[in-house]
Structures are given as C-alpha cells and as structure tokens.
Symmetry: C2
Subunit: 551 residues, 2 copies
C-alpha cells in the first residue's frame, strides 16, 4: 500500500504561549497520501486535534494482550499514579463492553495488531505529583502503528490528553472487535484555560454529581473546574476556621455540605484528570448565606432611621470584615492548591449600602460622594491585598474592571448585552492590558428548544475588534451552568453535550468551524459519553448502540 510508505513526521510543535487567539495554522487533516480529509472522516474525535494524519490501514486490539507501557527513557514510571490511574480508566473505556476474552482463535496474522501503547514523558520532570496549572504543557504526539503505538508528551498533562485521543480512535468492527487505524496526531490546546463552572449554592450538588462531571470534562479535554461554591442561597463549604458558616448557612449542616475530606477528594479526582479546581467565594454581593454564621459580616439595611432586619452585601466599613476575610482566605489558600482563586465581585446591589447611615458617613469621610462603585472598589482593593498576601493570583467578574479597580487580575467577561455587548467589553479589557476569560456566550443554564449547542459552538473568544497583542490576552473561557434550575436530577444531561461544543471551541484550531461536520462528530462523541456512563442528552433523533442505562 502506497500509504504505508509515508513516514510520520511531526515538527516540534510546542505550545509557545498560553493564549491562541492568533491562529497557529489551519487545523489541517490529511491522509498519508496527502489527501485532505473532512474532519468528520474522524467520526470519533472530539475536540478535533490540531493535526491528524490517518489511513485506511487498520489494526486490532485484544483485551487480553493489549498493554499500556512506560516507554524506555520516559521520566514517568509505574510509580506515577496519574498515569497508572489513567491506564485503568482508558482500558475500561476501550474494552468496557467486551465479553470475557475468547479471541485466541481470531488472532490476527502477525503485524496487524497493536499490542501496546508506549507512553513517553519527554521532559525530565513528568509532574506526576504536581497539580495542573495555567502554564501546564498539555501537548502530545501520538503515533499509532503496529506492533506498538507511541504517545509522547513533555508532561503527564499532555499524556492524559493523548490517552483520551487514543481511546477515541478505537472503534468496534462488525464483529465487536476493537480496531484502530494507522494514525498520527500532533496536538495541543488553542487556549490554556478551558473551564466549566458549576454552582453548588443554588442547589447542593452531591459529590457523585461533581465527580461524574469531572469525568465528562476529561472526555472533552477541559482543564478547569470553576467551583462556584457559595452564594446567597447556601454556604455548603465546611470551613475549619469558621465552621458556623456552613453549620448555619448551608441548606443542611450534615447532608448538604462539603467537608474538608470531600473537597480533598474533588481536588485529587480532578488532578488525576489534569483538571484544576478554582474555588469561587463571591463577595461582597451574593453573600446572604454567609450572614447566618458570621456576625456583623453583612451590612444592616435601614428603613428610614432604623434597621429593617434585612441585610445587604458584606459590610465594607468595619475592620472586623477584613480580619475575617484575612483568616478565611488564608484557609482557602491552603485548602485549594491552585494558584488562582475566583473572588467574584459581580452584581453588587447598592440599595442597602445607601440606606445605612454609618455607610453614608463613611462615604463622606472617604470623599466618595454618592458613587457607591467607589465603595465597592475600596472593598475589593482591600480584599485583593489580603489575597495577594497569600501568594494567590485571582480572577474576578468583569464588574471589578468596569468599576476601575486597578489590579493584576484575570477579568472574567460574562455580561452578554450591556455596554456594547461582551465583544466590546473584551476589547476594553484587553486594551487596558488585562488578561481576559470569556463566558458571556456560554451561559449554558439558559437554554432553548432544539439544538442550541450550535450557538455555543459558533461563538469565538477572539471575535472582537482589537490588535493581535490584545487577542493574545484572551487566555480562554468557561461554560457556566448556574444552579437556579439544576441539581442532581437534571444537571448532567443539561450540561452535556452542550458543553462539548464549548470544549472544541477552546481546544481546537480557530479554523475548525464547520458546523455540519461538527454535528456528525458530536453525535458520535455524545454516544461515547453515554457508553461511558454519562447521561449526555441527544442532539436530535437517532440512537446509540448502547443507550444510557440509568433512569
């Protein structure tokens, strides 16, 4: 076969920067004879890798013989728990539905079987015991041939992505046997920050639900779990230093909280999948639930000259507030290993502050006049100083930038319509030199009848007016599933595969935009998630070979 003569040759395609609004190249996909292929010829690949070279030559895989091995010279070995765990996971995914092996009779002629996937971590430090970070190298190169396939990656993080791709390349033939075609893949993410936001305050999300969604995130090469853990409705995080916060502010102090052990488990489960856990403790608004367990933290609202009995945002004029925040965020900085914490800062309602005579007096003293956004900035500025002292970086919602706070923060753009829309906001944020993260087009809690994944897919974080330098400041985005209308009963099917659309936008080349092609692949990818136990909902009519087996 002529195709066999072609050699796989990949240049050293290293991820040079964390941002990729400036296209690297066109996401070409070609076969070994140099014929350009349609993306959908790779039915199962999602998100589509940067470069794929394929052929019609197929090999078999046998559940009784196939092995994942550590390549000679790899800096990771059998003591690398991230890889060992991944080997088990992907073996299950690949051979999950196979019956007890009886294929001795059907052994192929020598040379038509892939016996192993050699995994080589090529940099001296594989980072087996580390945590993923914003600058983690997730690139990998995969070469599928017989008798050995080879997966090369500088770090374990790239190996995890390559294992997912390898598992997606395996398909069942008519006899149920596992097959894989001769393939070369060279891959890396377009954006460094690819997140999913879940909200465990509007509804408590049992651990099982969070873990299942981390599994699904790994299947879609997401690398950030943005945990919007507290809000007005409940405070489920059990703080060692301030246990009353959850004792009094959660829906239920035993059944509807996250204990330190729970949080640890989420972080470790995520680490195993190359996923960062960024906790959000949103202040000074969205904090009603904090008030039950922390005296004087919230601002007392007034009706006329007397307290009304209700409370507003965090009280920004008391020293006790900042003492509390210093203690609280010191704890958070040790519990959550990620270098970033999300500080919220969105949707602060000024009416309670306006009603309170002590706040008014403070405004006068500070010379803020009637501009309450200055008071908000005053609070945020002090909070940022506190968090900086814990050696954490921080993310904030766009209002903090809009209000003119000057800080080295990641600005999270979420407002769809206001101020010229989110594209104008992206232009402003990056023009001011800030790093930006996009969520505005990806509020997946909002949904409509039919295939609304298409709109999510079409949006692009770099589709705004700005210079190349500005676009490099966009480091990624997040699909947000706010919790008002979702809990354990419906969260997972509502999120998947709609969040898969966002995943491809954030991973694949900017040129990967053909929606009919995406449809064909996503239908397959959705069935793969279903076969792996994730109740991802259907895109349209049709069926999966193995339907979801829950209720």
């Amino acid at each position: 076969m002529a195709a066999m003569g072609a050699l796989l040759k990949f240049g050293a395609l290293l991820l040079a920067a964390v941002a990729a609004c400036v296209a690297w190249e066109d996401g070409d996909v070609w076969d070994y004879d140099g014929h350009k292929l349609k993306d959908s010829d790779f039915l199962a690949l999602w998100p589509l890798p940067q470069k794929v070279q394929s052929s019609a030559v197929s090999f078999q895989l046998s559940a009784s013989r196939f092995q994942f091995t550590h390549a000679e010279g790899s800096s990771a070995g059998s003591d690398c728990s991230i890889l060992q765990n991944a080997f088990r996971r992907y073996f299950d995914y690949i051979f999950g539905f196979t019956k007890k092996d009886r294929d001795q009779r059907r052994r192929n002629a020598a040379g038509s079987e892939v016996l192993e996937l050699q995994v080589a971590i090529t940099s001296p430090d594989a980072e087996c015991d580390g945590f993923p970070s914003l600058t983690s190298d997730e690139s990998y190169e995969l070469s599928v041939d017989q008798p050995s396939a080879v997966l090369k990656a500088p770090k374990v993080w790239g190996a995890l992505r390559g294992l997912e791709t390898f598992s997606q390349l395996v398909y069942e033939d008519a006899y149920g046997a596992r097959n894989i075609n001769k393939t070369g893949v060279s891959d890396f993410p377009r954006f460094a920050h690819r997140g999913v936001l879940l909200d465990s305050s509007r509804h408590y999300l049992p651990l099982k639900v969070i873990l299942a969604n981390l599994e699904a995130m790994a299947m879609n090469k997401y690398n950030v779990f943005h945990w919007h853990i507290s809000d007005d409705q409940s405070f489920p995080y059990v703080s060692r230093m301030f246990p009353d916060l959850s004792q009094k502010g959660s829906y239920h102090p035993y059944t509807h909280v996250y204990t330190p052990a729970d949080v640890k488990m989420v972080i470790e489960f995520a680490r195993m999948r190359g996923i960062r856990v960024i906790a959000e403790f949103d202040t000074p608004g969205h904090t009603q639930s904090w008030g039950f367990g922390q005296k004087d933290l919230l601002t007392p609202c007034y009706t006329g000259s007397s307290p009304s009995g209700t409370y507003g945002p965090v009280n920004p004029i008391l020293n006790t507030t900042y003492d509390f925040m210093a203690g609280f965020f010191k704890e958070i900085s040790t519990v959550f290993p990620d270098a970033y914490v999300h500080l919220g800062g969105d949707e602060v309602d000024f009416s309670c502050w306006k009603s309170n005579p002590d706040i008014q007096k403070f405004m006068d003293q500070q010379g803020f006049g009637k501009d309450y956004s200055k008071l908000e900035s005053f609070y945020i500025q002090r909070l940022l100083d506190i968090v900086s002292s814990t050696d954490k970086g921080y993310m904030v919602w766009q209002e903090v930038f809009d209000n003119g706070v000057k800080v080295d923060a990641l600005i999270h753009v979420w407002i769809w319509y206001q101020g010229g829309g989110y594209k104008a906001e992206l232009a402003r944020v990056t023009a001011a030199g800030y790093t930006a993260l996009v969520s505005a087009p990806w509020y997946l809690n909002i949904m409509s009848y039919g295939q609304d994944w298409r709109d999510a897919y079409k949006a692009d974080p770099c589709n705004f007016t700005g210079t190349d330098a500005q676009k490099k400041l966009v480091i990624g985005g997040e699909a947000c599933l706010w919790g008002e209308y979702v809990d354990a009963s419906n969260l997972t099917p509502r999120l998947w595969p709609r969040a898969s659309a966002v995943a491809e936008r954030l991973w694949s080349d900017q040129g990967v935009r053909d929606i009919s092609d995406a449809y064909v692949r996503l239908v397959q990818h959705r069935c793969r998630m279903v076969e792996r136990g994730i109740p991802a909902e259907p895109l349209f009519t049709g069926y999966c070979r193995h339907e979801y087996s829950g209720v």
Copy 2:
C-alpha cells in the same frame, strides 16, 4: 379539643359523567371547625383533592405495626393483586427511609397511633382483574382517624388514587417518625382522560424508562399512557404477524425494539397503577420507517415521469394497503386491551401524492379533483372501518376532523396557533358534537428557561367559547413529550414535575388555580418524587431532604 367533636360527613359524591368542564363546586378545603384553609396548608397534596377536611390532631404510624387491611365487607381481598401490589408499593413509599424499627420504647399513649388503613371496595365487582377504562370510577373517600383509617372506593381504581393521597398525607416529624393528621378526603377526577404521551420512535426508550415514568404518572394520578410507538424515524414494535416491520424498520432489531413480552409488561405494570395504555400507530403520514419492512405500503414519489426512489405517506389507492392494515390492526386490537387505539392522521404531506401519476389517475376516477385532503379522508375512512370491525374505539389528531371525515372518534386537539388557535378548534370540534381531548397547551417537549410549568398550569381545557353541552364533550387532555430531543438520558427530569402541573389541572377542581399556592405544594411534591427515585427536576433554588441519588 373542639375540633375533635366535629364528625366527618361526606355526601355520596359520585362521578356522574366523564367530563367536567362544568364545575362541580369550588374545591373547598376546610378544617373541622369550619375554617376555610389555604390549599398550601396541605403541603404534600398533589394534585389537590376535591374536598379535604383536616385538623391539627396528629397520629403516629409505626413501620412495625402499621398494616393495610381489607375492610370487612369489601369486595376485594388478598387475592386482589392490584391492591396487594399497591400495599407493598405504598408501604415502601411511606416507610422507605426508616431505619430498622427501634420504636418500641417510643410507643405512644393509646389512641395516638394509626394502626391500619382499612380498604373497602364498596361495589360488588371490585374490578381487580380488569383493565381501567374511560368510564372507570376513580372516586374514593378517605378518613384518617385512630386507631383505624378507612379508605372507601367503589372500585380498585379509586382505591389506588386514595392510597396515593394517603401516602402523601404522611409526613416525617423532627424525630424522623411518621405522622399523619386527622383528615377526611372526598375525591374524584375532574376529567376522565388524563394522559401522558411518550414517543418511542424518535428515540428508543428502554423499558426501564417507560416503567419509571408510569410510576411517576401514578404519583400524579394520571390514568392514560399514550404510547406514540412508531413514526418516521423507527418502528420498534415487534409485530407477530409482520415481523419485518421492526426487523427492518427499527433502529436495531434486537436492542431497540419492544417484544411482545415487553409490551405485555408495560400494559400490566400500567394496569397495576390504574393506567390505560393507548397505542398510537400513526398513519398515513409519519410512516417512513414502515416502508422498510412492508413492500408497496408507501407511495413512491416521482420526479417528473419517473420514480425518485423516495417514498411518501401510505399508498391509499392499493387494496394491498388495506389488507395489510386489516391484518395489522387485528393484531393490535388483541395485543392492546384498551377499548381505544390512536390512529394518528396528523401532518400528511401531499407533495409525494401529487407527484405520483397513479395517484393522480385515482383522484380523477374518484372525482376528488385537486383536493388531496379528500384522498386523505378516503384513506382514513377506510382505516376507521377496518378498526371498527375489531370492536375498538379510536382517537385521531385534529386534522381528521378538519378534513371533514365524519366518524365517531375522539378528536385530539394539538395545534396551538392555526385556525384561530386551539380554543377556536375546541369550539368547532365540540359544536360539531365530537368528543375532544386537549394537548395544544401541553407540548412539554417545547421548553424555555425558567419556570415554564406555570403556563402549563394556567391553561384550562374548558377555556373556550361554547355552551355547557359543548364543554361536557371535553373529556380531558394529555401532556405530550415528543421525542426529537429526549431519550433515556434526559426524558424523566424534563417531564417531571412539568407534567405534574398538567396533572393537577386535569384532576383537581376547576377553581384550583392559585399559582403561588401551587408552587408551594409542587416544590414538596417534586421532592417526594425525588425521594421515591424519580429524577424530577427542581422548580427553583432550594433543596430536598433526600436529594436524587443517581448521577
């Protein structure tokens, strides 16, 4: 206590007619002292019974002592499998979360415990071995007192509804003990036909999903499962007489079909819950999948003077078509015991018929001119004659009426906007003397962000311009969940509790319309469904004591 002195007295509140657009009375709810209560004082009751009399006097129930018993003189005994099964089911619902009984120490003073629920079937034939029907008596009276509660119903169908109500009256006190208040209920449905349509053609629905939804239907006092079993996309029904229909027309002939044993199980599972199974085999449109397994059934479409290779609706001009239908519906009439079959008849696209020269010739011969609705009527008329000969009644979608077919069929109104809207259609259908069924405001597959159950709740089948006689012709309605975007992964949470809103509209008195009150009760009812294993989605922020434990 003064309240104790009042005696429960209920008149003989029998369901006189199957329709109830003419209000019986105002759905009053009062306590034993004659104080009118808000509906939401009965947190757990859904749908709200016609009459409830309650008091603050509470009794306990012990898992080790409580029994369901057959009252002396009841026409049903321990050989009545419908009741025996229901006793087991409701015992589990009531005591499900109780730990192994350790309450001997906490036994109450004599007289504060309900030791049994005596079930009395008062008419000579309990119908234990029968199937529910359009004229089944579902009325019941429930009196909760100590030491015995009494449930009286003319038939088992009413007893099933009363058992559901009894189970909803039980609540957990602060110690986890089961309690129930002294209560009297007199109840019957406003409408005789209260259905849920599921579509197993656009997506195959595994048996487990269908059964779980029958469970949920019983919790909401639904009594019809409208099984839209076949459509263009797939034909999953395994016919004994025409096995090729599913062999060639299903998504998969072994894994994505309903065998005769499956169908039997669905029917029996439904019967145990007082639910009728009405199968819909929609023709002449919506039949693409039929064409694979039945030669010459569909009309060949033409491009110019030659067949295009595609097919249109059932071919109405061949005798073989009617021979097939006669055989097929004879089988259906024996497989499905219900007295009604749904024959579809909606959305017939005339373009293929128009393209076919043989059809054109037939039109000329029959003198139909260019009016293809006459051809459709010709087909439907012959089909109805065939089905009539199997002694079945039939339901049809509104187009059959719109096209002027004159038959004794139940007209199913589904089109929201056309011809002055569904209310105008209801006026026309009933003015012509036809019995009508309403689904137009209850297409629950269509959904929007937020609390769209409210619109479903507000709609009323009798809200159209017409005489009392016309309104009596409306015998109920159905919530429809068409299958384009739902399968095993997401069907159940998308349907519940949105279909619960429709359930109350169809069961409770016309005067039960207070939406804030409904919200309070529905939140509780949704948590009850969750506790019983149904992943009903949340209405808004909040929590359930026992969250859904699946993924």
